[in-house]
């Protein structure tokens, strides 16, 4: 069907940062994840675990220690001593409040969502804040203690358990009376060291479960203050505990990377008295498990930069979507922004938190199939651009124009545009109109004359670029939703601009008339990639549940191919993939070809070929290769998946029809992680 020259790029040494903290909102089924670099990601568990929001408000030296949902509002606290609330519509911090208590280790809200408690480290107070409509207000201080590491509200909101050095304290939030539970230190050499209660959980039957640095998980009676049971789980620390919604199961994450589950079970069938029993041990991580969430069916954990979703089904009878373990190695939305490609100039732009790198691809002069070609010219790094904008905010998005002469990037507070003259090695900064302020997606038109920026309140700012300057043209708006736009996709001919937001809406604007052309009928799953066909003007969208739609912009209806695809259904193997398609491109030579990719494969859909039957073999490239030509035609189907490349960050088609594949092998990431705790293995 086709031969492609592939530039296989592996020199982008992107390092995802470690996951520090997580919070799960069971009402909206949203998981908030905070990383060590200060980025906050929001995953929608209802929609195939798709990452729908990405807030990059990080800067160097600012890490988030704790996250907390209060209703639909998200708060974070960190070692800088501030509590921050996030604006989830405009993807930026709404405000920060100094708590005046030194570094904050933990925050927690009561179940009514009215009060927010937090603990300061240096002065060791538990500070209570009241959650108001638009802000939080300091309410009261609970008495001074040693450094407070962990907090847990009793579901009634009357009491708070606080884990600290060598003890757990229980405060009464009304009377401020306290009592203490003393936690044993570890045996042996660790006897002289203070034991840190890293995590506590306060259950509604007044059971308190604690995890500490001596490797114990302890179960206390909170009413009498007695220790009921001690489980020695690890030689190292128990870092985090998570309780299931119905309080029948608790999981503990250790610094060995294991997760230990405890369940509240009756000791014999039919008996009433129940015990906390250690039931299973999971190991999905090589490094410390610093964050854990226990949802109804799944454990979510993250440390070695990956988010792992591990269903806790008691019996797995057959493989299904629900029982599969999922590892989310790259944040989906960030993945789209990390690499930009100038199709015409053959340049690649790599985005790092604090700098950008511009590379020119190498060249080869020969063409032999199935081989790796001799590299005549090696790829070279042209520019490394350091940001020193507004303190040290991290870059949240960047874009490179197709001609390779414009470069734009944005942080949470500012946008910068650079004009590149590569022949003279000259980089000049361009003044931008005022309207470009808060931006979370950037995109150039294919003729490099327009810059589109998704801005606050689901609007798109259009800026015209020419040789000398750039000026503000228009702000494209629609009325339906205020959710942020995460996809911008201009058409090749410059007539259309498609936008998708996290409310699952896709809008198409007519750029000639600068107004909304139409909205694609809303689908329940969030679009992960949207693109407009250069010749037919059809809009192709792929969604988080792996469905593919083709919408004709002229007729304003789904195309015949799309209807047929929906009638016949996609192949089960296609639906079982667990990473979303993040990019759609078209082959200008063959209008029937749609190229898309996820992390583990890229695929060309040939619309002229029959769709695969559910029973037929989906990944059939190897079989086809062995067949003679006529039979091959008979056997082939529309989905031509290529799994030669793994851990794909981006696949782009250059103007000379060669592919640029940017891989980031997980092995390389793992090799750069700090060493995990040393474990004595048998016979080593």
């Amino acid at each position: 069907m086709g031969e492609f020259k592939v530039h296989r790029v592996r020199f982008f040494d992107y390092m995802p940062s470690a996951i520090r903290s997580m919070a799960f909102n069971s009402q909206t089924e949203r998981l908030a994840v905070a990383r060590a670099d200060g980025a906050v990601e929001i995953f929608n568990f209802a929609d195939n675990y798709f990452q729908e929001k990405q807030i990059i408000a990080g800067r160097d030296g600012r890490s988030i220690e704790a996250l907390c949902w209060v209703g639909c509002r998200l708060f974070s606290a960190g070692l800088d001593g501030e509590i921050t609330e996030y604006d989830l519509e405009n993807l930026r911090p709404r405000y920060s409040i100094e708590a005046y208590g030194g570094p904050i280790w933990t925050i927690s809200s009561n179940s009514q969502g009215m009060q927010l408690a937090q603990a300061g480290c240096e002065d060791g107070t538990v500070k209570m804040f009241e959650v108001l409509e638009d802000r939080i207000q300091f309410q009261t201080n609970l008495s001074r203690q040693k450094r407070i590491i962990s907090l847990s509200w009793h579901p009634s909101g009357a009491q708070i358990a606080a884990g600290m050095m060598d003890m757990i304290k229980i405060f009464d939030s009304e009377t401020q009376a306290t009592h203490r539970l003393l936690v044993d230190r570890g045996v042996g050499t660790s006897k002289s060291q203070e034991v840190v209660v890293w995590s506590v959980a306060f259950l509604s039957d007044h059971t308190i479960i604690s995890g500490d640095s001596a490797g114990k998980v302890q179960i206390w009676d909170g009413l009498t203050g007695t220790l009921i049971r001690t489980h020695l789980v690890t030689k190292w620390d128990v870092l985090v505990l998570a309780v299931s919604q119905d309080e029948s199961s608790v999981i503990a994450g250790t610094s060995e990377g294991t997760i230990v589950q405890f369940q509240f079970l009756s000791s014999a069938v039919g008996q009433q008295d129940k015990l906390w029993v250690q039931t299973r041990t999971l190991k999905n991580h090589s490094h410390d498990v610093r964050a854990l969430v226990h949802t109804d069916t799944a454990v979510v954990s993250g440390m070695d930069t990956q988010l792992v979703v591990r269903p806790l089904l008691d019996k797995v009878e057959k493989y299904s979507q629900e029982s599969a373990l999922r590892k989310i190695a790259f944040p989906h939305l960030l993945q789209k922004n990390l690499v930009s490609c100038a199709k015409k100039a053959g340049l690649l732009l790599f985005q790092f938190p604090d700098h950008l790198e511009l590379w020119r691809l190498g060249e080869s002069d020969r063409n032999t199939p199935g081989e790796s070609l001799p590299v005549k010219r090696k790829p070279e790094k042209l520019i490394q651009l350091k940001t020193k904008l507004q303190g040290e905010d991290h870059i949240c998005c960047s874009a490179l124009s197709p001609c390779g002469s414009w470069l734009a990037y944005a942080t949470v507070a500012a946008v910068r545009l650079y004009r590149l003259q590569l022949s003279s090695n000259n980089v000049s900064i361009q003044k931008l109109p005022r309207e470009l302020k808060s931006v979370h997606q950037l995109c150039f038109s294919s003729d490099s004359c327009r810059l589109f920026a998704s801005s606050s309140f689901s609007s798109v700012v259009v800026v015209a670029l020419d040789q000398t300057d750039c000026k503000y043209l228009h702000t494209l708006k629609h009325k339906s939703s205020k959710q942020p736009i995460h996809i911008l996709s201009p058409s090749e001919d410059g007539q259309w601009l498609a936008t998708a937001n996290t409310d699952c809406e896709i809008h198409v604007f007519n750029l000639r008339k600068m107004k909304l052309h139409c909205s694609v009928p809303a689908y329940s799953s969030c679009p992960t990639a949207v693109s407009i066909h250069p010749t037919s003007g059809n809009l192709v969208s792929v969604h988080a549940d792996q469905q593919i739609f083709e919408f004709s912009l002229k007729q304003k209806e789904y195309s015949e191919w799309s209807r047929q695809l929906q009638r016949q259904g996609l192949h089960p193997l296609w639906l079982q993939r667990d990473t979303p398609v993040t990019q759609i491109t078209f082959n200008p030579n063959n209008p029937a070809h749609i190229m898309l990719h996820d992390v583990f494969m890229f695929c060309i859909i040939d619309q002229s070929l029959p769709l695969p039957e559910a029973k037929s073999k989906f990944y059939n490239q190897r079989i086809l290769r062995s067949l003679p030509e006529p039979q091959r035609l008979r056997e082939s189907h529309a989905f031509k998946a290529c799994k030669n490349f793994q851990h794909l960050l981006s696949v782009n088609l250059l103007e000379d029809l060669s592919l640029v594949v940017v891989e980031r092998p997980l092995v390389d990431i793992v090799s750069q992680l700090p060493a995990p705790v040393r474990q004595k293995l048998f016979a080593t």
């Binding site: 296989r8 790029v9 080869s364 590299v375």
Partner: protein
């Protein structure tokens, strides 16, 4: 077996008075292996055609001049190169008649030797360690020559084949390995032997991309060191690397240290040694010996008349050895496929790969072998005896005449006086004398003396071929057992004779024998296990194994039947002493082709009994994992299987006809089946393993590559 053929004299020279060293300075190969050039220590260089034993040409330097190193032949230019008076390099061709008219060049430093490796450019080694290629040296003969060696360090010897030389600095010995292209030198430090000993001879050969060095110390130790040719070279060679060595042989040298001896490799398993006494010949005689390094056996020896100078060369299966007044050429053959390695079963040494029981790991080694403690009594007796002790020669004379008791006493005294570290080759002579006296005099038989001599490990069957038949004849089965245990070279015929004698021995007689305690206790353990509960080893259940062996017969009746059939065989058909003797046979080295004809001599009753015993062993081994994991010396499962196969091969027709053997054969059939099944399983694994190796390794694509992919 390696052999030395009848030699001939190549040339005769007149030894100068009171010269200790040889008249031969060096022998080098000329255009082919049949031509050699011999440089004598005075003034002349002679070209010989070896097969015709005649000189083809001779060149002499003027009176007053002296050739100071061996002449070499440059095969590239067909020129001879020699050095006279340390500094004058002379180069001539075969046509040149008068050496003085040929090319001469005087260099600025003293030359130690000229070296010409096979088809390579000659190189010159100076006395202070520098090395120059001849061409580059001759282009500027007066070029300054640097000192490589430090003060006090002097070249002691150098080797051909590869360019190495060995130096001595006080008591330290160094080895310089010079690479010519690119020019680099690596310095190795030899591991020190006993103080004051310096290597007598060096020999280097090139083998499998390694330089293999062989060196002999005066105490008879022969070491081998391997140096990789491709080894990374330190920057300037200043770094001294210790040279690891393996001891190949420990030659018996008698009381004195060797003075002039050398050892050279003939092939990778054979070493020719000159100047070392023959183990069973008396001192004062000079032998040329070939030793096999794999089996540590003496393969061939030749007594050389006249004084040996410790010089030895070898070119294309001919040894050149100067002795007395002559230079002899001795052709030799070292057949690569020695009997033992090609056909035979080598004596299996008990390796430590047995899976030890977890119990022993957990609870410590309870049954640690008691250390042999030398009692004070023996030490004191040794002391008292040493005053009035007899030498070996005296004992040997004594054996010829004295009565049994006295002989036994003297032999015991001799052995107790002997330092166990000091090898005593003459013990062989002692044993020979004892055996020949016993053969000659039917009344004389000293079992005690012989049983003391055999475990010294200085005897072997080839040294004393009559010993084992004598023991058999005298029905001294303990001695037989010792011989089988300590001799590695018993011919198959003798092995079979022993086996026959052991099998036909009645159990009642056998019980009276006192045998080697280890072998008996092994049988006791095996027999006690047979009755007692066979302990579980590491969770392994013999019952399960047995079930497995019945080939998954689903019918419970058949299973029970099978079990009934198998269970009577669990009793040992022979007594434990007899079994211990037979075990010894099972563990000897043999070669199948040679053993089979002798096995055919057995009567069918003997065969059936033997087979029953083997079957018993097999059953014990296959059902009880622990029977092989104790410390005792015992036949391995493989050895048992081999013997079963051989017996069946030799007697199959007889056994099939014999009604007695019918049940036995039926019982043996499941073994074969299980073996076949094992091998078919292994074959399956092999297939998948091959697939594994076929699987393309994911190649590292590096940071960037341009590839072409095709989609269909």
């Amino acid at each position: 077996m390696a052999a030395l053929c009848e030699g001939y004299t190549l040339c005769v020279f007149v030894p100068a008075a009171n010269r200790r060293s040889s008249e031969i300075k060096g022998i080098e190969e000329e255009r082919d292996s049949d031509h050699v050039i011999v440089t004598d220590s005075s003034r002349s260089v002679t070209l010989y055609k070896v097969s015709d034993q005649k000189p083809l040409g001779s060149w002499t330097v003027k009176q007053g001049q002296l050739l100071t190193c061996a002449a070499v032949f440059n095969k590239q230019t067909n020129e001879y190169v020699a050095v006279s008076d340390n500094k004058v390099i002379r180069i001539w061709k075969e046509d040149d008649i008068i050496l003085d008219k040929a090319f001469k060049a005087t260099v600025s430093a003293d030359v130690w030797s000229v070296h010409c490796a096979h088809r390579a450019e000659p190189a010159v080694l100076f006395q202070r360690g520098a090395v120059r290629l001849l061409d580059s040296l001759l282009s500027a003969p007066q070029q300054p020559i640097e000192d490589v060696l430090v003060q006090d360090e002097a070249i002691r010897s150098r080797t051909s084949v590869v360019f190495t030389h060995h130096t001595q600095k006080r008591d330290y010995h160094f080895l310089y390995l010079q690479r010519l292209k690119p020019n680099s030198v690596q310095k190795y430090r030899l591991e020190p032997e006993e103080p004051g000993l310096s290597p007598l001879s060096f020999w280097a050969s090139y083998r499998d991309k390694n330089i293999c060095l062989l060196y002999l110390y005066p105490n008879g130790h022969v070491y081998q060191s391997l140096v990789s040719v491709r080894a990374p070279v330190a920057d300037d060679g200043a770094q001294v690397v210790p040279l690891p060595r393996d001891q190949l042989l420990s030659l018996p040298v008698g009381e004195e240290l060797l003075e002039a001896a050398s050892a050279i490799f003939l092939d990778d398993a054979h070493v020719a040694v000159v100047g070392v006494p023959h183990p069973s010949a008396g001192p004062g005689k000079d032998f040329l010996c070939i030793w096999n390094t794999n089996f540590q056996t003496l393969q061939a020896a030749k007594e050389m008349a006249g004084k040996l100078y410790g010089q030895l060369w070898s070119f294309s299966s001919k040894l050149f050895i100067p002795h007395g007044k002559a230079l002899s050429v001795i052709p030799f053959s070292c057949p690569r496929s020695s009997l033992a390695s090609a056909l035979g079963k080598l004596k299996q040494s008990k390796t430590s790969t047995v899976v030890s029981s977890w119990n022993t790991i957990l609870h410590g080694e309870e049954a640690a072998a008691p250390k042999p403690v030398e009692s004070r009594k023996t030490r004191t007796t040794r002391k008292t005896q040493s005053s009035l002790s007899l030498t070996i020669d005296q004992v040997q004379d004594l054996i010829k005449t004295a009565p049994v008791e006295e002989v036994e006493k003297e032999v015991q005294g001799l052995l107790s006086r002997q330092d166990p570290k000091d090898p005593q080759p003459s013990l062989g002579q002692l044993a020979m004398a004892l055996v020949s006296r016993s053969l000659a005099d039917p009344k004389f038989y000293s079992s005690r003396a012989l049983t003391q001599l055999v475990p010294t490990r200085y005897l072997s069957h080839s040294v004393c071929p009559d010993l084992l038949p004598l023991a058999l004849e005298k029905r001294d089965y303990f001695l037989c057992q010792l011989c089988l245990l300590f001799f590695h070279d018993i011919p198959e015929a003798v092995t079979c004779a022993c086996l026959k004698a052991f099998i036909s021995l009645s159990d009642a007689d056998a019980e009276k024998l006192s045998l080697e305690p280890d072998s008996v206790s092994f049988m006791e353990m095996l027999l006690s296990n047979e009755r007692g509960q066979t302990g579980l080893q590491n969770g392994f259940s013999p019952a399960f194994c047995q079930e497995d062996r019945t080939d998954a017969v689903d019918d419970p009746k058949a299973k029970a039947k099978e079990k009934k059939k198998a269970s009577p065989q669990q009793t040992c058909p022979v007594g434990k002493h007899k079994a211990a003797l037979i075990n010894e046979i099972l563990q000897t080295a043999y070669s199948e082709a040679l053993l089979l004809p002798h096995l055919k001599d057995f009567s069918s009753d003997q065969v059936v009994l033997f087979l029953r015993y083997l079957e018993f062993l097999y059953l014990r081994y296959s059902t009880d994992g622990s029977s092989q994991t104790h410390g005792y010396r015992s036949p391995s499962l493989n050895q048992v299987m081999d013997w079963v196969c051989m017996l069946l091969d030799a007697h199959f027709t007889v056994l099939v006809m014999s009604p007695v053997a019918k049940g036995l054969l039926l019982n043996l059939q499941p073994f074969v089946k299980s073996q076949v099944r094992l091998f078919s399983e292994l074959g399956k694994i092999e297939g998948s393993l091959q697939e594994l190796s076929k699987m393309k390794m994911k190649k590292d694509v590096g940071q960037y590559s341009i590839e072409v992919i095709e989609l269909y």
